[in-house]
Amino acid sequence: MDTSLLPILLGIAVLLPLISFFVILAVGRWWRPVLGGYLATAAIMAAGLLSLTSLAIWLSHHPVGAAGHHAADQAGPYVGDYYVLGQFGALRITIGYYIDSLTIVMCCLITLIATCIHVYALGYMHEELHPVTDHEVTLPDGSPLRRPGRFSNFFQYMSLFCFSMLGLVLAGNVAMVFVFWELVGICSYFLIGFYVERKSASNAANKAFIVNRIGDFGMLVGMMALWGGMGTFAFGDADLNGNGSIERSERGLFSLVRPAAREHQLTTPEGLVLADAHEELQRWALAHPTATRGDFESYVAGELDDLRDGGPDGSGRRYGYWLLVLAGIGIFCGCVGKSAQFPLHVWLPDAMEGPTPVSALVHSATMVAAGVYLVGRFYPVFAPEVLLVIAVTGGITLFLAATIALTATDIKRVLAYSTVSQLGYMMLALGVGGWLAGMLHLVTHAFFKSLLFLCSGSVIHALHSNEMTVMGGLRKKMPITAATMLVGCLAITGLSIPFVIGLSGYYSKDMILEQAFSFARENPGLLGDGFFIVAAGGAAMTAFYMFRLWFLTFAGEPRDAQRYAHAHESPRVMYVPLIILAVFAAGVAWPAPFGWPSLQGLLEQARPAGTAVTAVSAHVPFVWPSEYIAHDAANYWSIVVPVTWLAFLMAVAGLLVAVAMYVTGQLSAREVSRQFAPLHRFLLHKWWFDELYDLLFVRPLYVVAGWCAAIDRRWIDGLIDHSARWTARLAAWSQWLGDHTLIDGFVDRLAAWTYRVGVSLRSLQTGSLRQYVLFLVIGVVAVFLISSFL
C-alpha cells in the first residue's frame, strides 16, 4: 500500500472517537446506557486497527535498521493540509497533518492503551449503569446522595478525550496543536469532575484547568512570538502551489529554524532578527534618505547574517536570539502545565478524584504525555538555553515527586507522584540532549503506568478504598492483579539481568542515565553532576516506593479483615486488559524482538534534523553531547557498563530497603518516620506546595481583586458620583446667583419698586371730585406761571 494512504487512515482514526462522541451526545439519552460504552470501545478499537495498519504501511516503506543510530534512518515526514480554514494574507489557518514515525508510534500507543482502558472501564464503571448512591456526598438531611448513573456520559467524554489526544499528535501546525491542547484540557476538566456532586472533585477539576491555563499563557506567548517572527504556523514544508519546489512562503517552522542550507544548525529566523534589530535598520533608513525600497532590502539581505551571528567574529550581539529563547521557554511553559512539571505539578495528584480508568488514561499515558510529546516535537526550535531550563525543571520535578511518593498512603496518589517523577525523567532526558531517551521513556512509561493504574483500580474496585493502610495480603485473593502489577513494578523500576534482558523500563531508563552521565562527563560541576545524581537517586527511590506499594497491597497479612473478606478478583473484562498491558510493559522496548523492527529504531527515524550533533551555547558554559556518543562502541566501557551497573544497583538497593521495611521487618517504617519526623511531615504534606501557593498567589490575587473592587466602588465610581454631585451643586449655586439673584432678582426688584411707587401714589387717589378739580386748577395755574416766567 502507498504512503499516501497514511493521512487518510490516521485522519479516520482521529475522527472515529469524535463520531462516537457525537452519536452518544445525540442519542445516548434514549439508548440503554451500556450501548454508549460499546460504541465508544468499538470506535477506539477501530482507530487502533487503523493506526496499526498505518504502522505496517510505514514499516514497509521505511524499514528500520538494526537498533542502531544511523543518520540515514531518518525518514522524512509527510506533510499536508486536510482543509484550509481561513487565509489572512500570508497567514494560512489550516487543518493539517504532520506524519512521521513519532506520530505513528504515538497514535498506536494512544489507541492501544485507550482500547484496553475502555474495555476495562466497561467492567469498572458498571455501577453507573444503575442509579448510584454516592456515600461521599451527604445531603442536608444526612442521607447519602442518590443520583442516576452516568455510564454513557463517561464514555462520551472518553471518546472526546481520545479524539483530542489523537488530533494533538497528528496536528500539522501550531494553531491546531493549541486547539487540541485546549480540548484535552477541557476533557480532563469533565473527567476529573466526573463525580460533580463531590466538592473535592469539582475543586480538582477547576484546579487542573486553571493551572493548565497558566501554562497555556506561556504557550500562547511563545507560539505567537514564533508566528510573529516567522509568519507561519506550519511545522513542515509543504509545496502549496504544487510547482515542485519549496519557496520561502511554503517553509514550515522546523526548516526555518534549522535550514538545510546551514546544515540544520539552529538559526534565528529572519523575522526575529529583524524584529530585534529594528533600531539599527531605522538608523540606516534615516541615514539614507534617498534609498529606495530595493536598496533597503539588499542592505538587509547583506547584513542579515552579521546581525544574526553577532558580527563576522561572532562576538557582537546576536539579534533575535533571545526572542527565540523566549519563544522556546514559552512553549515549554505550556508543556510544564500539561505534564505537571514543577512548579505547576500541583494539579495532578488532586486530579485523582476522577474515576480510576480516567486516571489511567488521562494522567499516565496520554494527557500528561502530551507535554513531553510536544517538547519532543518542538525540539528543533529549542535553543540550548531552553534545553537547560528543561533539564533543570525535569530534575527538580523528578526529585520532588519521588520524595513525596515515598510517604503517600493513598494508592492512587503514590502512582500520581510516580507519574510526575517519571515525567521529570523524560524532561531531564530531553534537556540534556537525549531526544530518543526521552521519547522512548514516554512510550514505555505509558504502558507500565497505565497498567499500574488499572491494577490499582482493580484493587480499589475490590476493596472500595484507596488507602493502603487497609490493604495487605491481597495476592491470595487477586492473583492476576497481583502478578500483573508486579510486572508493572518491575518495569517501572527497570530491573533486569544487566546486559542480557530486562523489562521495558530497563532500556529507557538506562538510556536516560547514560545520556545524563555523558552530559555530566562533558560538564563537570554542580548542574552536570547534579542531573546524573538526581536521576540515579531517583531510580532507587522509584524502586522503593513502587515495591512499598506492592508489598503493602499484596504481601503480608490483611490489615482490615472485613474488607479483605469481601475482596475478590476482578471480572474477566477487567483482567484481560491488564494481561495485555503487562505483555507490552514487559516487552515493548526489547531491541529487535524476534527479528522485528525495534521501537528505538522506529523512533530514531523521527529524530529532528540537526539534533544529533553535539551542541554548545554561546551564553551558558555547557555542552550538550550528541546522543550517539553514549552508544558509540568506543564509549562502551566508559559509559554504558558503569551506568548500567549503577542503575541496577540503585534499583536493587531501593528494592531491598522496601523488602526490609515491609516484608522481613528488619526496619520498622514507623520507627524510621519517627526518627525523621519533621522530614516525614514535610513529605506527607507534599512539601507544603498547596499551602505555599495559596499563600503566595491565590490569596494575594483575591486581595488585589478585592482592592480593585474597592477602588472601583470608592474612587472611580466615587469620582463620577462626586462630579455629578458637584455639578448639581454648581447648578444650584448658579441658579441662585444667576437666575435668582442677578437676572430674576433685577426683574423682581424692578417690579417691586414699581409696585411700591404705585402703592405710595395710591394715597393720592381719594375719589373726591372737588379735590381733583382743585388739583386741576393748581396744575393749570402752575403751568401758566411756569410758562409766563420762561
Partner: protein, 552 residues
C-alpha cells in the same frame, strides 16, 4: 422586494410594532407578549433574508441595500438625508440586534408582570433604534438613533428595574448623554471641515470618509481634539476603563431583557463608533493614540477580570467580565491590522451572544431563587440539568474554548496584537507594545479563573438553595426559556466551527479601514516595517514624511 426596501422595512417593523402595542394596552398579557414576539420574529426573519442576500465576499465602496430619502427635500442647502445601508461592519451587529431582541422578549415572558404593553413597546423601540444605528449612513440619522437608544433603556431600567433602579437609570442616562454631546460636536466639526474643503455640505458618512481620505483633517492637533471628542461618547459606551462604572450598576438594576440587550448590543455601539468614525475618519490621530488606546484596553482586560474575581453577585461578575471582554475587542481593533480588526469585530459578536445568554441565564436563576448571591447557591446542576448545561456551554464559549465562538475571536485578537508588537510595530513603541501583548494574554488565565469559579460554586458540588425557595417547586428550563437559549447556543457552535462565514463578509470593509490607518502609522513613525510574509503586501516599505517623523 429590493434589498433597500427590505432593509427599511426591517427597521420599521419594530417601530410599527411598538405603536401597535401601545394601542393594544387593554388586551391581556398573553396577547401582548405574543404580539411582541411575533414582531421580533418578523424582524429577525427579514434580517435573515438580508444576511442571505449579502454577498459572500463582502461589499466594497457603496453599501448593501442603500436607500436614501432627502429629508428636507432634494433642494435644501443642508444635505441631511435619511440614508440607510449595510456594510461588513454593520451587518453582523444589525443581525445580532434583531436576534437578541427575540431572546430579550422570551426571557421577559414570565418575569415581567406589570405594564407589559409599555414594556414590550420600549423593547421594540430600543430595537428600532439599534437597527438604525448600525444601518445609518448619515451622521445626523446615526446620532438621532444613537441618542434614541438611551430613552427606552432609561425607562426599562427606571420602571422595571430592581431596588436602586432610579439611581441607576439616571446615572446611565446622564453619563452616556454627557459623553455623546461631545461626540456630536466632534461629528459636526468633521462635517464642517469637509464642507470647507469641498465646498459642499454633506452629512453622508461614506462621502465624509472618502473626502477625509483625500483631505485629512489638518493640523494633527485638530484631529486629536476631534478624536478626543468622539472618544468621550464612544469610550463611555464601550465602556473603556476607567469610564465603566455605570455599567455594573445599570446591569444589576436592569430587568433581564435590559441586561441582555445592553450587554449584547448597546456596548457594541461604542466599538462600532470607534471603527466607523475614529479610525476611518481620523487615521492620523488614531495612529498617534494607538498605544494609549491599547493601554486602556489591556488595563480594562486585567482590571475587569480582577474586579470580577472579587464579586459575590452573579450579575455584577458578568458585568465586569464584559469590561474585560470589551477590552479584548478594543485591543484587537486598535492593533490596526487585518487580523486584529477582524478578531475585534468577531469578538464584538461573540461577546454579544455569550454574555447576552449568560445574563439571560442569570435572570432565569433569579426568577427561580430570587437571589443573585453566589454563596447562597450551589450544586444546581442536579436540580436544573439543562440550565446548567447551557451555562457551561456559554461559559466555555466566553473563556475561549476551541470549537466554540470565543476562540476564533480571542485568537485573532491576540494574533493581531502580536503582529503589531513583534511583527511590524512602529519603532517608538515596540517596547511597550511587547508588554501590552504579553499582559493581554494573561487575561486568558484570569478569565478562566472567575468564570469556572462561578460555575463551580453555583452548579457543582453539594446542593445549596435559599431556604425560601423550598416553598414552591423549582423546575428546569421551560419551553420559552429553551427557545431563548437554543439559537444562541447553535450560533456559538457555528461561529466556533466555521468563523470564515462571518469573517469573509466583514473583511473588505475592515480592510478598507486598516489600509488607511496602516498608511498613517507608517507616516507617523517613519518605521521600517519588516515582517516577512506579513499579511499586508506593502509593509516592507520605508516611508518618511517631513514633520511626522518622530524618532529618538
Amino acid at each position: 422586494m429590493t434589498t433597500g426596501h427590505l432593509l427599511v422595512s426591517t427597521i420599521l417593523v419594530p417601530l410599527v410594532g411598538a405603536g401597535l402595542l401601545c394601542g393594544l394596552s387593554r388586551l391581556g398579557r398573553s396577547v401582548v407578549r405574543r404580539t411582541a414576539l411575533g414582531v421580533t420574529l418578523v424582524t429577525f426573519t427579514l434580517t435573515c433574508v438580508l444576511v442571505a442576500r449579502f454577498p459572500a465576499d463582502g461589499v466594497v465602496g457603496d453599501g448593501f441595500g442603500v436607500t436614501t430619502w432627502a429629508w428636507f427635500g432634494a433642494e435644501a442647502p443642508w444635505n441631511i438625508r435619511l440614508s440607510v445601508g449595510l456594510d461588513g461592519l454593520g451587518l453582523w451587529l444589525f443581525a445580532l440586534s434583531s436576534l437578541l431582541m427575540c431572546t430579550a422578549v422570551l426571557v421577559s415572558w414570565e418575569s415581567i408582570d406589570r405594564d407589559e404593553p409599555l414594556f414590550y413597546a420600549m423593547l421594540l423601540l430600543l430595537e428600532a433604534g439599534c437597527l438604525g444605528v448600525f444601518a445609518a449612513r448619515d451622521i445626523i440619522l446615526f446620532y438621532i438613533c444613537f441618542e434614541f437608544t438611551l430613552i427606552p433603556l432609561f425607562f426599562l431600567i427606571g420602571i422595571w428595574g430592581s431596588e436602586q433602579r432610579q439611581y441607576a437609570a439616571r446615572k446611565f442616562f446622564v453619563y452616556t448623554l454627557a459623553g455623546s454631546l461631545l461626540t456630536f460636536l466632534s461629528l459636526l466639526a468633521v462635517v464642517f471641515w469637509v464642507a470647507q474643503h469641498t465646498g459642499r455640505l454633506t452629512f453622508s458618512i461614506p462621502e465624509l470618509t472618502a473626502s477625509l481620505r483625500t483631505h485629512p483633517l489638518q493640523p494633527v492637533s485638530w484631529q486629536l481634539a476631534v478624536f478626543a471628542g468622539l472618544f468621550a461618547g464612544f469610550a463611555i459606551k464601550v465602556p473603556l476603563f476607567p469610564l465603566h462604572t455605570w455599567l455594573p450598576l445599570a446591569h444589576v438594576q436592569a430587568p433581564t431583557a435590559g441586561s441582555v440587550f445592553l450587554a449584547g448590543i448597546l456596548l457594541k455601539i461604542g466599538t462600532y463608533g470607534f471603527v466607523r468614525f475614529n479610525m476611518a475618519m481620523l487615521p492620523d490621530a488614531t495612529a498617534m493614540c494607538m498605544p494609549v488606546m491599547l493601554w486602556l484596553a489591556v488595563a480594562g482586560i486585567l482590571y475587569g477580570a480582577l474586579v470580577a474575581l472579587a464579586q459575590r453577585d452573579m450579575k455584577r461578575l458578568i458585568a465586569y467580565s464584559s469590561v474585560s471582554h470589551l477590552g479584548y475587542c478594543m485591543l484587537g481593533l486598535f492593533a490596526l491590522n487585518r487580523l486584529g480588526m477582524q478578531g475585534g469585530t468577531l469578538q464584538m459578536i461573540n461577546h454579544g451572544i455569550s454574555t447576552g445568554a449568560l445574563f439571560g441565564l442569570i435572570g432565569m436563576l433569579y426568577d427561580r431563587y430570587h437571589t443573585r448571591e453566589i454563596r447562597q447557591l450551589g450544586g444546581l446542576a442536579r436540580r436544573l440539568p439543562w440550565l446548567a448545561c447551557f451555562m457551561l456551554v456559554f461559559t466555555l464559549s466566553s473563556i475561549g474554548l476551541p470549537g466554540l465562538n470565543g476562540f476564533p475571536g480571542e485568537f485573532l485578537v491576540l494574533l493581531g496584537m502580536f503582529q503589531r508588537a513583534w511583527g511590524d510595530a512602529p519603532v517608538v513603541e515596540s517596547g511597550q507594545l511587547h508588554v501590552i501583548s504579553v499582559l493581554a494574554v494573561s487575561g486568558v488565565v484570569l478569565g478562566a479563573w472567575y468564570m469556572l469559579w462561578l460555575v463551580q460554586r453555583v452548579f457543582f458540588g453539594p446542593l445549596r438553595e435559599p431556604r425560601a425557595a423550598a416553598a414552591h417547586p423549582i423546575t428546569d428550563l421551560k419551553r420559552h426559556e429553551l427557545a431563548a437559549l437554543a439559537p444562541l447556543a447553535a450560533l456559538v457552535v457555528w461561529i466556533g466551527m466555521h468563523p470564515a462565514f462571518f469573517l469573509q463578509r466583514m473583511a473588505p470593509t475592515l480592510d478598507g479601514v486598516t489600509a488607511v490607518t496602516q498608511e498613517s502609522l507608517r507616516n507617523r513613525a517613519g518605521s521600517v516595517a519588516r515582517m516577512p510574509g506579513a499579511p499586508e503586501p506593502d509593509v516592507a516599505q520605508v516611508v518618511r514624511q517631513e514633520g511626522s517623523t518622530r524618532v529618538r
